[in-house]
């Protein structure tokens, strides 16, 4: 049965009565549960050179990201604070791990890669290439209402780097 939902054909369709194809375990993988409970790089960065606040009014997720970018355009340090659901907290935590020591060029390609990972229609295998541990978030593809939770931190980070202000995922 073709998908007629207005989700650009990218996201899975769950028709009435369809079985539980996308298991919750794909979404709440152990890594995600762990990063939610023990977020890495959590807290304020006192000597940040860039920062931004992100807010998702739909679920009330609120994130603040801090960056220290050195003269060579390399992310020397990155931290975040805030509160939100497991997906947004784990995503932010994993993002900070992935970004430490990267160049802004690398940030942009990770941003694109991550976006493709969580919104693509495929099985995700192609999209996972080069993303390392971030690939665990690929499971949100099957949960359309949760994609914004995963991407909030990335948009906030992009805002911090490009300008200052509040990112919204709505």
């Amino acid at each position: 049965m073709p998908c007629s939902r207005p989700w650009n054909g990218r996201r899975p369709c769950l028709h009435e009565g369809e079985a539980n194809v996308f298991d919750l375990k794909d979404l709440y993988q152990q890594v995600i549960v762990d990063h939610n409970k023990h977020p890495r790089n959590f807290g304020r960065l006192e000597d940040a050179s860039h920062e931004a606040e992100g807010y998702n009014p739909l679920c009330g997720d609120r994130l603040h990201v801090y960056l220290k970018i050195d003269d060579q355009g390399r992310i020397e340090d990155v931290r975040f604070e805030g509160e939100g659901c497991a997906i947004s907290m784990a995503s932010a935590s994993l993002m900070t791990e992935a970004l430490k020591g990267r160049t802004l060029q690398e940030f942009r390609s990770l941003f694109e890669g991550f976006h493709a990972l969580v919104t693509s229609s495929g099985d995700g295998a192609d999209d996972e290439a080069g993303l390392g541990k971030l690939a665990v978030l690929g499971g949100v593809r099957a949960f359309p209402s949760r994609i914004k939770c995963a991407t909030l931190c990335w948009h906030t980070m992009k805002n911090a780097i490009e300008r200052s202000g509040v990112a919204r995922t709505e």
Binding site: A19, L24, L27, Y28, V33, K37, C59, G60, G84
Partner: protein, 406 residues
């Protein structure tokens, strides 16, 4: 007829389905209730047999459509026990009813320095229109706070009410907390200082009997879709004397008697406030929902829902880490809570996969969330067709969530 939940459920075709491979447990009734076959059939029959525009045709179909539309108005009048159908204005829903009052009555009546008093548990639709009115007029918005149990701090009402208070807006049954407010007492005190009172009854009509004459409220707003009727239709009740004085809200067809380019004479009540072709099918569906609901004893509905709520509360209290938000002594139909270590949104997703439909979020009552220091809650809300099986599904899913996040 005794209260037979199985027989009631059989009248809701939508309840008989699987979601993610599990039987649907629909516990999001405060957002919107499901519709019984009687309502669905009334709407279908109207479109198949009677569809025509109202109040303007001389042909048979238009006469039938007009009669059905006006019959629905009489049903709404009886539901609220208004004195006259002239006091029953069809609108899109509670939100539009409140906006109508804020625009028409409020803009004409309010001056800089006047005060509008609302409560700390209002839905955004009973906050924002008043804020907008305050911006237009220079009036001031004041708020009656709520206590830790989720009840209004009535002891503060006398100090907040004064001769500048023009209007009090209060929710009858809170969608975020389930609190049933003592609106009759609030109305009495407000009238004593000369203020008008608008009651937001969006949640109330499905769960309790409403009598606007006994309450003596000036305005009462509710939505059909929360009482087993269709979306897109609701009612503004207002005392006739008020409606008479109020300027029209929107201009157009149906709300006029005579139009020339020099001058327009407005139609009589309630049509003065119903510009344009109304939601005819919606009104007819609303009427059908009232008839259907009227086939039950409201006390039995309330007793059934109260039993479910009590069972839900005691089961919830046995779960470590679960915090109830809203424990008013007088409350109905809503179980709002948070769980330690699991964000409401994660719970919403996990419960959905178990076939349990609840709402996770701020419930359009962000100030309530701020009052209780939570970003959001999980809300299960009950209707007359819910059973202990639905609660089993809910609590099993909560256990599963806890295991997943352990």
């Amino acid at each position: 007829m005794s209260f037979d939940v199985a027989a009631i459920r059989a009248q809701f075709p939508i309840l008989d389905q699987q979601v993610h491979g599990r039987p649907l447990a629909y516990l999001d009734n405060a957002a919107t209730t499901q519709k019984p076959s009687a309502v669905i059939q009334a709407i279908q029959a109207y479109y198949q047999r009677d569809n025509a525009n109202v109040h303007r045709g001389v042909h048979a179909l238009s006469e039938r459509a007009t009669a059905a539309y006006e019959a629905a108005r009489e049903k709404v009048r009886a539901l609220l026990n208004a004195r006259s159908v002239r006091e029953i204005v069809f609108v899109r829903g509670t939100t539009e009813a409140i906006n109508l009052v804020a625009h028409s009555w409020g803009t004409a009546r309010l001056r800089a320095g006047d005060e509008i008093l609302i409560t700390g548990m209002e839905h955004h639709s009973n906050i924002v229109p008043w804020q907008m009115l305050c911006e237009r007029t220079g009036a001031r918005l004041r708020v009656l706070p709520i206590n830790d149990a989720g009840e209004l701090c009535l002891d503060q009402l006398p100090t907040l009410l004064n001769e500048r208070t023009r209007l009090v807006g209060v929710v009858h049954l809170s969608n975020a907390l389930g609190t049933i407010n003592p609106v009759a007492e609030i109305i009495r005190q407000a009238h004593a200082v000369g203020a008008r009172v608008l009651v937001d009854g969006a949640q109330a009509a499905a769960h309790m009997a409403i009598d606007v004459q006994q309450l003596d409220c000036d305005f009462y707003a509710t939505s059909a879709h929360k009482m087993y009727g269709p979306t897109g239709i609701g009612v503004l009740y207002a005392k006739e004397a008020l409606l008479d004085e109020m300027p029209p809200y929107q201009g157009g067809g149906d709300m006029i008697r005579v139009v020339t380019f020099e001058r327009t004479e407005y139609n009589e009540l309630p049509y003065k406030f119903e510009a344009g072709t109304p939601n005819i099918a919606g009104a007819i569906g609303f009427g059908a929902a009232i008839d259907w609901l009227g086939s039950f004893d409201m006390c039995e509905i309330a007793a059934h829902e109260q039993r479910l709520l009590q069972e839900a509360v005691s089961r919830a209290k046995a779960i470590p880490g679960l915090r109830l938000v809203g424990e008013a002594g007088h409350r109905a139909t809503v179980l709002s809570f948070t769980m330690e270590g699991i964000h409401p949104h994660d719970l919403g997703t996990i419960l959905d996969r178990e076939g349990v439909a609840i709402r996770a979020g701020h419930h359009c009552a962000m100030p309530v969330m701020q009052r209780f220091g939570v970003p959001a809650t999980v809300r299960a809300s009950f209707a007359l067709y819910n059973t202990s099986d639905d609660l089993d599904a809910l609590f099993q899913a909560l256990e599963r969530a806890q295991a997943m996040f352990a």
